[in-house]
């Protein structure tokens, strides 16, 4: 927001106790002085640091930052009855405190509070939840089950009249509470918006298990959650089909994080050609062998194949998602981080220790069993086999560089100088956990891989 005054008015404000007030007839606002004109606070680290009061990490998800001491004037909200005006041109940033439309009126008030001149602008503040679509999958959580789940649209979304014929469908990963699903989706939506994306953003929310970070890593439900992911894939396939049937000509770009890639992989395995146009895997918790049958064992991961010698499991993952290329009409693209501890440690240990998922599952003489039932139930459902019995022979694609069958190399999240995702837990979702400026290359490349021109 820019407020310009002429020299005579500036003189009145500076020396004669005139004031500049901001009046909204609709939504409520917070107003902050801008360090610079324009939107460089979003792209320039120096400007951002001045604007955002010194913190080096601005985390959209947990919303923590380090306040400067003493505080920068740029981080302090203005008194709307007495805006600080010291120049002919004055720049502000505002944030909405409530949704609505109305007029924003700038008033020059004399020392007794009477407006002597004013100017107005239209203003519209929207709740972000009205700006993107939330699709919630509901499934039968019993294992195994043959029922197909369903999906519902969360009410409140209002499509923009300027919306282009594109959908970006984002699928979250394991262990996300509703709050986290929402935060990650909104962070991605905002960052894609600033990349110039003005199609529809869809957050596909599926029922992963969650736990508190206060407990040891959630050993108990990762595998169960993988089963839910496969079942949710059936629901996503139906949603993609509905888009195709009822919104012909829409280009659907899929992006999934971590275990959300099981959801998308299964959905694309079930979908007919053309139901999606692009797919970017980010930090995907899926064995690389799912995308490549790899007859010569190039992708074999020594620890897993060694473990197979002493504790065999069926080779069920291999090749299970290789048909996605036919649906997309092109290869999917992999955004990976060879240091991501979700895979270099957690994924590995889970496959080594809990495949089969003892003590409730075991594998014997070529057959898998679930033992708490009476008598033991033989496991034949491939979703249950993969999530609870089968150990992959390859590592996760999230730490696998290069071409992997139907997936091509996209972006190394560690080697990129700006992104520089490392080996802490926070790096596993760095595209949302790290600040806007640091993650620009991620969203730029995401748009590029979706063949969407940034800021055309």
């Amino acid at each position: 927001m820019e407020i310009d005054v002429d020299a005579a008015t500036l003189e009145l404000i500076t020396n004669y106790n005139y004031k500049v007030a901001l009046v909204s007839t609709g939504p409520q606002l917070n107003v902050f002085p801008a360090y610079e004109a324009g939107s460089t606070y979003l792209t320039d680290t120096n400007t951002a640091n001045h604007q955002y009061v010194g913190g080096s990490v601005v985390c959209d998800v947990s919303c923590y930052y380090v306040p400067a001491d003493p505080p920068s004037p740029y981080g302090i909200a203005q008194d709307l009855n007495n805006l600080t005006i010291t120049n002919l041109q004055n720049y502000f940033l505002f944030e909405g405190k409530s949704a609505g439309t109305g007029q924003l009126r700038v008033e020059i008030r004399n020392p007794v509070g009477m407006a002597v001149s004013n100017d107005t602008a239209k203003i519209e503040i929207k709740d972000i939840k009205s700006m993107y679509q939330r699709v919630v999958a509901t499934i039968d959580t019993s294992i195994p089950n043959n029922t197909i789940g369903s999906w519902t649209l969360v009410p409140g979304f209002v499509p923009s009249p300027d919306e282009t014929a594109h959908y970006i469908v984002h699928v979250h990963g394991w262990n996300n509470s509703v709050w986290q699903k929402t935060c990650y989706a909104e962070t991605m939506f905002k960052r894609l918006y600033w990349q110039g994306y003005n199609g529809r953003f869809v957050a596909f929310q599926w029922p992963t298990y969650t736990t508190s970070w206060l407990l040891p890593p959630s050993a108990g439900h990762y595998n169960k959650s993988e089963y839910q992911a496969f079942k949710s894939g059936e629901v996503l396939a139906d949603y993609l089909d509905q888009i195709y049937q009822f919104s012909p000509g829409i280009a659907v770009h899929l992006c999934a994080h971590s275990q959300g890639n099981i959801v998308v992989g299964e959905a694309l395995t079930l979908a007919a050609p053309g139901r999606a146009t692009h797919y970017v895997l980010t930090e995907a918790a899926v064995p690389a062998h799912c995308y490549d049958v790899d007859p010569t064992g190039v992708l074999d991961f020594g620890e897993f194949t060694q473990k197979e010698l002493e504790d065999p499991t069926p080779d069920t993952y291999r090749g299970s998602f290789t048909s996605i290329e036919t649906v997309l009409g092109k290869k999917a693209v992999n955004f990976y981080n060879p240091l991501d501890p979700a895979f270099t440690v957690w994924f590995r240990l889970n496959q080594l220790n809990f495949k089969p998922d003892r003590p409730t599952y075991y594998y014997d003489m070529g057959r898998a069993y679930y033992s708490p039932s009476m008598p033991d139930r033989e496991v034949t459902d491939p979703f249950e086999l993969m999530s609870h019995v089968a150990r992959p022979r390859s590592h996760a694609i999230a730490v696998t560089p290069g071409m992997v069958g139907v997936v091509e190399e996209g972006l190394n999240l560690h080697n990129n100088e700006t992104l520089n995702f490392g080996s802490q837990i926070i790096d596993h979702s760095g595209q949302c956990n790290y600040d806007f400026i640091r993650t620009i290359p991620f969203y730029h490349e995401l748009m590029r891989q979706f063949e969407l021109g940034p800021r055309l």
């Binding site: 792209t43 508190s212 970070w213 206060l214 407990l215 040891p216 890593p217 959630s218 050993a219 108990g220 439900h221 146009t277 692009h278 020594g302 620890e303 197979e308 010698l309 002493e310 504790d311 065999p312 290329e325 009409g329 092109k330 290869k331 240091l339 501890p341 440690v345 240990l349 080594l352 220790n353 809990f354 003892r358 003590p359 409730t360 075991y362 594998y363 014997d364 003489m365 070529g366 069993y369 033992s371 708490p372 009476m374 033991d376 091509e408 560690h414 100088e417 490392g422 080996s423 802490q424 837990i425 926070i426 956990n433 590029r448 891989q449 979706f450 063949e451 021109g453 800021r455 055309l456």
Partner: protein
């Protein structure tokens, strides 16, 4: 009942009780846990097992009696315990030996080495910023450094020094756990090499962060003025043409496409160098063509991004650019460019001397001129 009969009855009761007590005290088989030693196979089951998993070691069949008494809840508790123990075993020594060299291969003394180690801090898994240590060390007079005493599962190492550029091709992430063939192993006889390149001195430059331009795909021309980054300029520098033939898609969804980039009054040459900060005087061609026929097979690409050096406006301006093309979807090219409008061939960047438009650049140069006077 006689006394003798009573004694017999009492003896019988005692025998029954003793039998029950002995049976109750007999050791029961425990649940098999991951990592436990596999038991030997009997001959019959061995034959079946060897059919299903020909490479497997001997593995005793598991039976229902070993699992039935465990509820889902108990199983989850056991798993949490096991995974915690496994993670604790992942804390291995993170020793490291490195050497920092310059562009001539000489060791760089006094380089700053920033080290981040990672481990799972199972006592405080709620704090995402924990789980590792950060430290800084400096190279010795030979450019060598070493790290000892840290434990965890990986290291991230970044090197730098005032007055030097750091190569983005330096290795930086080192995993110490997992597949032994892929893991990093420290060897004092073979230190990991990190490269720095000495700065020669930056010039004020015009810098255009990625600008994207829609491209026709039938060979129609797009003109770009690299000084203003505009397409509707009377002084264009680049002529870009794209041809795609999506109808030629093969069974692998590849199709023929090519792009031609022509410098209107100057030349262009591709650069493979990371620090191509001095534009050569010669070696330029009027245009480059990037071709991606289906016949490239697995080397075919859906998009491309390359680096070029530029001689513009009859040699009055030198520059470099990263040029990308996305021939599908919305079809566009992207240009990130550094130009030296004052004539010298020096293209070394300095973030404080980069200007996003000609006005800011010219104002800076005028100020500099004034200061020199």
């Amino acid at each position: 009942m006689t006394q003798k009969n009573k004694s017999l009855l009492l003896t019988a009761i005692l025998i029954v009780l003793a039998t029950i007590i002995v049976w109750l005290l007999l050791p029961k088989r425990k649940l098999p846990l991951p990592g436990s030693t596999p038991r030997k196979l009997s001959g019959a089951s061995e034959a079946v097992s060897s059919i299903s998993t020909p490479n497997s070691k001997r593995h005793e069949p598991e039976t229902r009696s070993e699992h039935a008494s465990v509820s889902e809840e108990q199983a989850e508790q056991q798993k949490a315990k096991i995974i915690k123990q496994a993670m604790e075993r992942e804390q291995v020594p993170l020793d490291f030996f490195g050497r920092v060299v310059d562009e001539t291969g000489q060791g760089v003394a006094g380089s700053v080495v920033q080290v981040s180690s990672s481990h799972f801090d199972l006592l405080r898994p709620d704090d995402l910023s924990l789980g590792g240590e950060k430290l800084t060390v400096q190279t010795d007079s030979q450019g060598d450094f070493s790290i000892k005493g840290l434990r965890g599962y990986s290291l991230v190492i970044r090197v730098g020094k005032e007055g030097y550029f750091t190569s983005s091709r330096n290795p930086s992430g080192f995993n110490y756990v997992g597949d032994p063939k892929l893991n990093f192993r420290a060897d004092p006889q073979k230190p990991v090499i990190f490269r720095l390149v000495q700065k020669k001195g930056a010039e004020p430059l015009l810098y255009h962060r990625y600008k994207a331009y829609k491209l026709p795909h039938d060979g129609n021309q797009l003109f770009v003025d690299l000084v203003t980054a505009r397409t509707n300029s009377p002084d264009p520098d680049l002529k870009v043409q794209l041809w795609t033939d999506e109808k030629s898609k093969d069974s692998n969804f590849r199709y023929d496409w090519r792009v031609k980039v022509e410098v209107i009054d100057g030349g262009i040459q591709e650069s493979q160098e990371e620090f191509d900060f001095i534009a050569p005087e010669t070696g330029y061609s009027p245009f480059v063509e990037l071709e991606y026929p289906r016949s490239l097979g697995d080397n075919w690409k859906r998009n491309t991004r390359r680096k070029f050096l530029l001689k513009l406006r009859g040699g009055r301006i030198y520059g470099r650019m990263t040029f990308g093309v996305v021939p599908g979807g919305e079809r566009f090219c992207e240009v990130e460019a550094w130009l030296n409008p004052s004539g010298p061939r020096n293209l070394e960047p300095d973030p404080n001397l980069q200007f996003s438009n000609s006005d800011a650049y010219n104002a800076h140069m005028a100020k500099q001129k004034q200061a020199t006077k």
